[in-house]
């Protein structure tokens, strides 16, 4: 039923972008990191999964989660679930999201993960619509599949008052050999700015 609805939405042109679903194969990418080097999903073949998060500098909701991303990397990077942050915004629309600003923001906030510039509109292939927007990927051996789509947790404003840490719980589930209990969530965020 869900598939039919999705197909209908696409036919009607409601889906501006092809929305990835949980279970789908994750599109690969090769984008420029803030250190100038390219980062590809293929570089992560030896990991158990990857937390791909579309985020940016300027969006207050993205900013609220920066410290939590650093914590997630500390907690799950060593367990082979590293973070890859990707900025999908066009800096000609939001100058604060330009490449040089990404470099300074990452340094100021102590990002311990790559922060890539999406100059190929990869976000459309994933169907990301807002920042922050997480796609938790699971390594299936030959490719990565989507295991969870949505928010990082259930309390944007207050990290100390989180009841459901969606991404952390989903990773824990996969590490324990189970399927994540919650596979999709929605959350308020900023629209992705593109032309």
């Amino acid at each position: 039923m869900k598939h039919i609805l999705l197909a209908m939405a696409l036919v009607l042109g409601m889906g501006v972008t092809a929305q990835l679903k949980v279970g789908d194969k994750a599109p690969s990418f090769n984008l420029k990191n803030i250190d100038g080097k390219k980062v590809s999903l293929d570089d992560y073949k030896d990991q158990k999964g990857v937390v791909v998060v579309f985020t940016c500098n300027h969006c207050p909701y993205a900013v609220l989660y920066e410290a939590r991303l650093v914590e997630l990397q500390k907690q799950f990077g060593p367990k082979k679930f590293p973070i890859i942050a990707i900025n999908p915004n066009d800096s000609t629309i939001v100058p604060a999201d330009g490449f040089s600003k990404m470099i300074t923001n990452a340094a100021e906030k102590g990002f311990n993960f790559p922060y890539l510039l999406d100059d190929e509109q990869l976000f459309k292939k994933y169907g990301a619509t807002r920042t922050p927007h997480v796609y938790l990927l699971k390594n299936e051996g030959k490719h990565f599949s989507v295991a969870y789509i949505g928010a990082i947790d259930d309390n944007p404003q207050d990290a100390s008052d989180v009841k459901d840490a969606y991404v952390a719980q989903a990773i824990e589930a996969i590490l324990a050999g189970n399927k994540p209990k919650v596979t999709e969530t929605r959350a308020v965020g900023c629209t992705i700015k593109f032309k």
């Binding site: 949505g150 929605r186 959350a187 308020v188 965020g189 629209t191």
Partner: protein, 159 residues
Amino acid sequence: MRKFLVILTILFASANLFAQKRSVPDIAIDQLLKRIESPSDTIYVVNFWATWCLPCVKEIPEFNKIPDSFRQKPVKVIMANLDFPNQKASRLMPFLEKHAIKGEVVMAITPRGGDWIERVNKSWSGAIPATIFLHKGKQSFHEGEIDYQAIEKYINTLF
């Protein structure tokens, strides 16, 4: 000196009162949905916005252009604010002193998590701005920035 300070305090207090004259009711999201989904002649335009959202602030003048009626039907514009409720006094109220908003401003109180977003509209991811158009059970939805021309088009599709 003391007297001066007292007068100054009173002056500030009353100036503050005056500025905050516009009352912004808190309304639970499901209550808001109930209100706009009730059958009536009214065309509802509900814009979800926040003071921190750049495109939301930019498009406010477009909503200000909406007339009070459209083809003899009353139009009700509701500007549903999604700032954090504990920042109502520090962010929303000062914002309203500086920006003219013609529609009714309410603070949408949302429960923990994002399940409520789907209840507003199935195709809404949660990104703001987002606007719904309702008339007698018919609904149109727009995620992202909008201009008056598009607003008019959406209203037209409701008939």
